[in-house]
């Protein structure tokens, strides 16, 4: 063990963490928005909304993320005629992929609300939109927050896949240092430790939220 290799290249490697966090945050925010729309479409009784959303979700949940990245990477230039930037390719594939997972979490959260709630809301004269916005979503969101946090931790880990199209995020930089210094044991243990620290914090938060939710629903 020779931890000098870690401290010598610490700044360079940690510089990649910024990009990793950026990828994760953009994916979570945009993925949630797209996921909510998909979930609402999947719960809709309109066939032309239900079927495309269902097909979309099943399609992306059936594929490995890494393949989605390549597929968009090849597909995009065909449609636009311009080569795709690595960052754009990564972010777009992350968003369309993770939105499918978010959609299923959100759908389950919405379905966990008893039907009587929406009937009561409609009976009191709220419109369909108002029912969703003021009655269903606030309650459903509370139920799904733990699962959403867990999925966000998964997304944070998944951003490491941007590695394959050459984006210099955290893991790519560790890999570059390893190529120069050939100290795989120390470097990959270090990379693992950094991911572990961040992800356990997220997992712990998710468990706390879950416990609190259980207490509140019992009370």
């Amino acid at each position: 063990m020779d931890l000098d290799v870690v401290s010598d290249n610490f700044a360079f490697m940690m510089g990649g963490l910024g990009l990793t966090v950026q990828l994760a945050v953009i994916t979570i925010v945009c993925g949630l928005m797209l996921g909510t729309l998909l979930a609402l479409a999947r719960l809709s009784s309109r066939v032309w909304l239900y079927w495309p959303a269902t097909a979309y979700i099943h399609f992306f949940r059936g594929l490995p993320l890494i393949l989605v990245i390549f597929w968009l990477y090849f597909l995009f230039p065909v449609i636009t005629g311009k080569p795709m930037q690595a960052f754009a390719a990564a972010i777009v594939s992350f968003i369309v992929f993770e939105a499918a997972y978010f959609a299923e979490i959100i759908r389950a959260g919405i379905q966990s609300i008893p039907e009587g709630q929406s009937m009561a809301a409609r009976a009191s004269g709220l419109t369909g939109y108002q029912t969703v916005r003021y009655v269903i979503l606030p309650q459903a969101l509370r139920n799904m927050v733990p699962a959403l946090v867990t999925q966000s931790v998964v997304i944070f880990q998944d951003t490491s896949l941007a590695y394959v199209i050459g984006l210099r995020e955290f893991l790519r930089r560790v890999n570059l240092v390893d190529a120069r210094e050939a100290r795989s044991v120390e470097l990959y243990l270090f990379a693992g430790a950094v991911y572990f620290a961040i992800c356990s914090a997220g997992s712990l938060a998710s468990q706390r939220l879950e416990k609190r939710r259980e207490r509140m629903s019992l009370a």
Partner: protein, 241 residues
Amino acid sequence: MGILNYTFDWSVLWRDPYGGMLVKGILTTLQLSLLAWLIALVLGLAVGLCRVLPLRFTRLVGGAYVQVFRNTPLLVQLFFWYFAAPLLLPKPAQAWLYDNVPNYAFWAGVVALGTYTASRVAEQFRAGLMAIPRDQYRAAYATGLTTVQVYRYVIAPFALRLILPPFTTEFLTCFKNSALAMTIGVMEVTHTAYYIDSFTWHGLETTTAASAVYLCIAACITAGMAFTEKRVRIPGMIVRR
């Protein structure tokens, strides 16, 4: 330049030598995910059991295993097994490895995917055991069964059927995750699709075909398991739709 200024050539999917490469890639994907699943099942059940035993030590070890493997990306674990693990071996063992195991990348992939999936299997297994009502144990003991008999005749038939659906999901995840092995050079189907692009510039066709392969295999497994679940369902209990 513009929309669809691209000549499709689907014959790269079956033309020699690319057709053969794709078939080999599909077989490698299946081999990799099945071998990893074997490790994941054995190790996952062991770790899951560790987590429910009434012993502090085993619970601590099991918990630590799950935490470490779930909170680091699979890609880091793959790199660890491929690049770092051999360096931890004594020198003669290293030399033996490099001389006698030509497809070390494949085996590193199997171990990485297996140990990673084991942490997920362990959690599902534990959740399945916890889902069994306490009364089942009490009633079984009250009728005079021994511990082995309680598990063999009451708990296992119950738990095995409860965990079948989540285990199907975990296998499919393992199957999809096998694509990550391409990063250490394993020629599974995703890598093959990407690789053929470097000769033909027809990556769009090959990645589309690879997507179809994943979706078809996943659909077959899902259909097969849905059938099995219906066959073995516990009367009176709701089966996943």
